[in-house]
Point group: C2
């Protein structure tokens, strides 16, 4: 029986079937042993290159360019920079018809929502319309999603509004506030595009689903509470966002409540919620909820116009300037005391809107089975926001609600965004005076209807059911946002998620294995009743990489397993423990502290006359074990490919030496 690193050569097995090659009798004497290989040799540079590729280019973006002519390479390059070239050449009238229908449908939603969300960000309502015009046009050229409907969204609007208004008053310092909003938008775009260009897209993965469910729900509650201002007709409302100041503000200004506003507001809210409910029940009737905001705006504006001389209790938007987006690059603000605030707001709104945009894009891409490239989308959304910041737009991204309507309305390509932008263009040029009498209460009702769906209590309940820790993360971000502040709540939730990873690494699981009778399968003795311990052996599976953060713990834990096993054996007067087998299958990585821990463990077990055997280390671990000469120190029979082979070989050796 040849051992050592040259065992590779001993592998030619006598028969080539699917069965185990030796019979029950033969196994007692001849145990077939497979050696553990080292992975193919690679230089440090090659390894670094592979690792670099894995981290930054997991999608292998140059794959398509291989074995292509120069001409094709140029075309492919253009297509990958501007996805419009991919579908543009095959565009036809049939597609156009679908896109026009869906584009007009989302425009009817985008116009009232644009005005509402801008108010949420404490910006002039017209900025919301500007932001529904330029960014969709840019996205339709750069973006790779076919169903994303681009424009302002509630969460990013809320976050921008809350972060900026903490330092600058949007009413007293309105010009500075506007400057900061555009500057934040610029930095949001810069940050988004940089993440994409530097291929650091995985950063957004650190906002886990659980974090986002909690965060979105918390933000939705804050947004809803803010709408009490419009729905109750309160004039002097707090500028703060947290739960407690808002509620106290609502009840301390009870004298300002206006029954006309409340009556009309609740009426329209009921209509909007009912139409939303209908569309949710029957997705085919999506147009009911899609059309209802615009219809409500029209009806309420007419109502207010008709009673304009009877009551002044209902506040309305007032004058909106006509015309296209004015340039705003001169309003960007690159120095001064508030620059840090603008950058911070930009990064946070940037990452939030990016997360929403990419999640929405991926959702619909997966429904229609096409790919949305995360890094490319980041670049598209980033450039869209940078361009937006120079044309009086604030942060925009793909909105979930409008994209869903777009998808249901049958959108086929990004042309639906162009159609929507054209509708907004017509509105900006000709229809602005019509919004003069649009009451603020209808904007509040529209926002409320939109954000109420963001409180996904079912998802939170499912988190509770499946994973308590995820639920905890979710609650952290919910209450953090609601009670502390938006950026801090988010930071807490991300911190908790990262802590979970670290905790898992710091305190990994070890499982005792036993053999399932009549097989070569070794499984947890706690989990599989059929799995039974092998006399003389303690088989442990380590379920984690072995790192500096857990090497001491693992070493102590394995020694404790040994002690406990010896006590158990003593109580049952079983066979003396002779050998500890460590199944390393799940040890996906090891570092120098981990190697030292294995060394030390071997030394301490040896002092107790126990042998340590390693089984099936993965490639990278094997390489390091080899380099650190630990394999040699383990001795001839210290390394096996499977637990079964280790048990069989060691047992037969012991028998041969008369030790059993």
């Amino acid at each position: 029986m040849g051992h050592g690193t040259n065992r590779v050569e001993d592998m030619a097995s006598p028969n080539n079937g699917n069965t185990a090659p030796v019979t029950a009798n033969a196994r007692e004497t001849i145990v077939e042993i497979h050696s553990v290989c080292l992975p193919p040799k690679k230089t440090t540079f090659q390894k670094l290159k592979k690792r670099f590729g894995d981290v930054f280019f997991p999608d292998d973006p140059l794959e398509r360019f291989r074995n292509q002519t120069w001409r094709n390479k140029v075309i492919l390059g253009l297509q990958s920079l501007f996805p419009i070239f991919t579908w543009g050449s095959q565009y036809d009238l049939k597609l156009l018809r679908s896109d026009v229908v869906s584009g007009l449908t989302i425009a009817s939603l985008a116009i009232p929502q644009g005005i509402s969300y801008a108010k949420l960000a404490n910006l002039p309502p017209i900025v919301g319309l500007y932001s529904s015009f330029v960014p969709p046009l840019i996205y339709s050229v750069l973006g790779s999603s076919k169903h994303l409907a681009v424009g302002p969204v509630s969460i990013a609007s809320l976050v921008m509004g809350s972060m900026l208004s903490e330092s600058v008053s949007p009413t007293q310092d309105s010009i500075l506030y506007l400057k900061l909003a555009f500057t934040s938008t610029f930095f949001a775009g810069l940050f988004q595009a940089s993440l994409g260009l530097l291929r650091l897209g995985f950063v957004i993965d650190f906002l886990s689903k659980a974090t986002l469910i909690g965060f979105t729900a918390g933000a939705a509650v804050i947004v809803s509470l803010q709408q009490l201002k419009g729905l109750l007709g309160i004039v002097h409302f707090t500028g703060k966002m947290q739960f407690i100041p808002v509620m106290s503000s609502v009840f301390s200004h009870r004298s300002e409540w206006s029954w006309e506003t409340i009556l009309m507001g609740l009426g329209f809210l009921a209509i909007l919620l009912t139409t939303r409910h209908i569309s949710m029940r029957k997705p085919k009737l999506f147009w009911i909820s899609a059309a209802s905001p615009l219809v409500s705006v029209v009806i309420s504006t007419l109502l207010v116009f008709l009673i304009r001389n009877k009551t002044h209790a209902i506040s309305f938007i007032g004058h909106l300037p006509k015309g296209l987006n004015p340039p705003s690059s001169n309003m960007l603000y690159f120095s001064g005391t508030h620059l840090a605030l603008a950058i911070k707001t930009g990064i946070i709104t940037g990452i939030l809107s990016l997360t929403e945009g990419i999640a929405v894009g991926r959702t619909f891409a997966s429904l229609k089975n096409y790919q949305v490239n995360g890094n490319k989308e980041m670049v598209a959304i980033g450039f869209m926001n940078m361009a937006g910041s120079c044309t009086s737009c604030y942060v925009t991204t793909g909105s979930f609600s409008r994209s869903a309507v777009n998808y249901n309305a049958g959108a086929k390509t990004a042309v639906s965004n162009i159609v929507m932008a054209s509708a907004v263009l017509v509105t900006l040029l000709f229809l602005m005076p019509l919004f003069y009498y649009t009451p603020n209460l209808i904007l509040a009702a529209i926002i409320l209807t939109a954000v109420i769906g963001l409180i996904d209590y079912r998802a939170a309940y499912k988190l509770w059911k499946v994973d308590k820790f995820d639920f905890f993360t979710c609650m952290c971000s919910f209450f953090g946002v609601l009670l502390v502040s938006v950026p801090l709540g988010l930071a807490i939730a991300v911190g908790v998620s990262v802590l979970k990873i670290l905790l898992h690494v710091t305190r990994p699981n070890t499982v005792e294995f036993g053999n399932i009778q009549g097989t070569q399968i070794y499984q947890s003795v706690k989990r599989y009743r059929e799995a039974s311990r092998i006399p003389g052996f303690l088989i442990l599976a380590v379920e984690s990489p072995i790192y500096f953060a857990n090497s001491t713990y693992l070493q102590e834990r394995i020694l404790r397993w040994t002690r406990e096993e010896e006590t158990r054996i003593k109580e049952n007067s079983g066979t003396t423990l002779k050998c500890i087998i460590l199944d390393m299958t799940a040890v996906s990585s090891i570092d120098t502290s981990g190697i030292e821990a294995v060394f030390e463990l071997r030394r301490r077990l040896e002092k107790q006359s126990l042998q340590l055997v390693l089984v099936n280390p993965v490639g990278s671990v094997m390489e390091k074990l080899h380099k650190s000469k630990i394999i040699e120190s383990l001795g001839l029979s210290g390394l096996y490919l499977t637990v079964g082979e280790a048990v069989a070989d060691l047992s037969s050796t012991w028998k041969a030496h008369g030790q059993i």
Copy 2:
């Protein structure tokens, strides 16, 4: 063939041998399938309790108390609080003799080192002696290591000196500086004891070996450079610690260099280094290097005394007060502008000295095969420092160099610390005037000799050989400490280590498996030449938990594997791909994002008419898969215990349906 969760019952196998139960011919038709079990049911509370126990009580400290009488429980409790009770009753004259010899040996080292290290921390030399008196006494009662020699150490002294003197001048504000030093010591002790009491000892594991090698070497270089002041006789030296200001200070004060000092300093340095070298070569001659500092102090003091009228170029210590440690609890400083600095210094010196003390304790415990309990040691070191801060001591811990001497000199119990403290007591009471003419250059030479051994270039080279990333961490902390600052350098290194864990989780490895002919073993096709792909199957092993941080990546990566495999098949015109098998053995944990990714993957593979099969999920993963109903959605043949069974069962099903 029964499938589903009740497959547990089908397990009674026909024969109970160690062999595979079915023969080659039978296998084609009857495939034995083992079901995947759920782990035993546990309530949330039970799970939380287990998790809590794993995190905070991995050593199961109450294990020894089980099944004991009340009297024994009290005795065991006392012994675990005061380890002195464990060995105190068996203490005899023979042990005492060993301890007296070793205690006197380390005293001869501790006295000159105490004076020197106090100077390193910019404290009066006498504080170094005070710190070698009270803390060792307390440790001998509370500590569980038998060989730890307690007192001031170079790293903690340097860090305290550098951090405090950045804000407060030790010469101009000497009282405030002293107050801050004692206060930092108090907070260091409080922090250490809290870590131990709250059982958060694993925090120190985050200072990985690689980090510490770099940090220690960096600090040793800084300390060595600081000694140029004493060795060259420079009077006006920079208070800064970084490489560049120190070097410029050395060369800009060339006029202050004194040739007498340099000559004498280099002479003694050569002696000390030579004796150190001899003792390192022959550990039996440890007493040569142990005695040489004290001998050098005596000789150099005599020399300076003799030439005191000839030259004034050699500076000496001067007057030292006689008497025991004065109480200093009235000097603790719990309010005012420098409190934050004191707390920060306390935490950093606390964690550094803790790391050193515990590492040293573990090293010698492992050599003599006894246990040192990390959390208990933290409490002992913590209380020792808190008591020290009230008796004019600064931060102390177990010193590596003195503990090694203690061990080599034959120390048997903590009594050697008591003997050492007694020797210091005699010194403090009677011998202080003898140090009047002790030259500063000898202190510099002693420090230099002590710290030069801390630059462990061999360990750094081994890191480079075995693990490039660990080497990178090591270099980060080395250059961070040397060029930036001590706390920042440490923070950078810890950050890099944590980033490594996160990076590993974010971009996990996936490996393609093949069958090793003639066996049921499946292994990496890249690593094992004998492993060959099975037509129709793509077998992938995921080597990491599936978390929010990697779920998207893994999903995309597996789809890319599928694409690549299909291209490969097309090129070789092989059997069409039908099934993707995911070996989940190494997936030690999954969260809700991970589950969603598996769902989504299944959906997308299904659209390409590919089946997804999971193999061998571990207990906790299986539980979550079950709760999230993913098992049902995978269909009847979507879950197997081993890759071999999955391949055999699916192949035979396909054959039965004539699909092959």
